[in-house]
Amino acid sequence: MSVPQESQTDSAAIHDDSMLRVAGKTLASRVIVGTGKYDTLGLMRDSLAASESSCVTVAVRREKLYDREGKNLLDYIDLDRYILLPNTAGCYNAIDAVRIARLGREILRALENPGADWVKLEVLGDTKTLLPDPVATLEACKRLVDDGFQVLCYTSDCPIMAVRLKDAGAASVMPAGSPIGSGQGILNPNNLKIILEYLKSGDPDYPVIVDAGVGTASDVAQAFELGADGVLLNTAIAHARNPVLMAQAVKHAALAGRQAYLAGRIPKRLYATASSPEEGLITSRPW
C-alpha cells in the first residue's frame, strides 16, 4: 500500500518568511533581542547566539573613566553577525533622545555597523511605569526622521498614537505588550489587532514589532499569531533561570507563532464540533 506523495504545501515559502524586512534591510530573524541585564557578558553572548537573532539593541551611556574593568560590551558582540540597534532608553524628553540617538550613530559609524542610522526611540514619561511620553515621543520621532534616522519607535498599545508615529515617518512602530520588563505579556491583544489593521491598511508590508512586556515564549508566539512582524525582548531571556534555554524557546515560539498566523487559526466557537464523523456510528445515545 502506498501513501500519496504529492505535497500540497510550499515549505520553501514558509521558510523564506522567517525574514523581517524593516528600514530598508532584511533581518534573518524576526526576533530582536536586548543585551541588558545579563549576569555576565559571556552569558549574554551565548543567549544572543541561541536566539539566532540578527539584530540586538544596545544603550548609550557614559564611559566609566579611570576604573574600567577593561571589558567592553562590544568585545562580546560579533559585529559581522549582528546589526546594532542603539536605543534612547532613559530619556525623558525629546532633546535628550535626539542627543543620545546622535551619539549612538557616531559610535556605530566608526564601527561601520549597518545599524548606524537606526535608532530604537523611547522617550519615557514616568520612572515607575516606564510608559512612553506620547507628546515627547512624537516630537523626537519627527526630529530624528528629519535628521535622517530610521526610527523604530517604542510606543504604548494606543492605535491612534501608532498611526501618528507612522505618519511622522517611523520606519517601524513598536507597541508595548505591557510595561517594560514587567513580564505581563500582551495585556490588550485587541489594541494590537487594531494597530496592525490600521498600520497595514493599504501598506501590508509596514513592519509592526511588539516591544516590551514579554514574559515567556508563549507571549512571543501570541504576538506573531496576532500578525506582528517582529518581537523585541530582553528581560524575558536575560532574567530567565536559564537564559540560553529561554532564548532557544523564544526562537521556536517565533517560528511557531508566525507559521500559525500564516496558516490561519480557526474561529472560536461557543459549542463543540466533533472531529470524528457522525455517520456510521454503531453506538446509541441515551436521549
Partner: protein
C-alpha cells in the same frame, strides 16, 4: 560653572605683573568637575582615562565632536565634555 583660569600674581617692585604658571582650566568631564592643564587635547583626556576611542563618541558642549578633532581640539575653560560608549540595554 564658568570660572576664570587661576593665575599667579607676582609683585616685582611696585608694579604687579601677571605671569602664567601652568594655567589650569576647569571643565566638566562626564558630569564631574575637573582641573586640567591648559592645552590638553580631547585625545589626551581619553587616553589618560583608559578610554578606547574606537568604541566611544564625544559630545562637547552638547554638540558631537567629530572624531577627526580629538587630536586637535584643546580644552577651554568651562567646557562640558561627555564621553559615551555602548552598554547592554533593551
Amino acid at each position: 560653572m564658568k570660572r576664570i583660569a587661576r593665575r599667579h600674581l607676582v609683585y616685582l617692585g611696585h608694579r604687579p605683573f601677571l605671569i602664567s604658571v601652568g594655567v589650569m582650566l576647569t571643565i566638566a568631564f562626564n558630569g564631574k568637575e575637573e582641573q586640567v592643564d591648559e592645552s590638553v587635547t580631547v585625545l589626551q583626556l581619553l587616553e589618560r582615562s583608559g578610554v578606547e576611542p574606537r568604541f566611544c563618541a564625544v559630545e562637547l558642549n552638547l554638540e558631537i565632536l567629530p572624531r577627526a578633532h580629538y587630536a586637535t581640539y584643546r580644552m577651554r575653560d568651562g567646557d562640558r565634555i561627555e564621553v559615551v560608549t555602548l552598554v547592554g540595554g533593551g
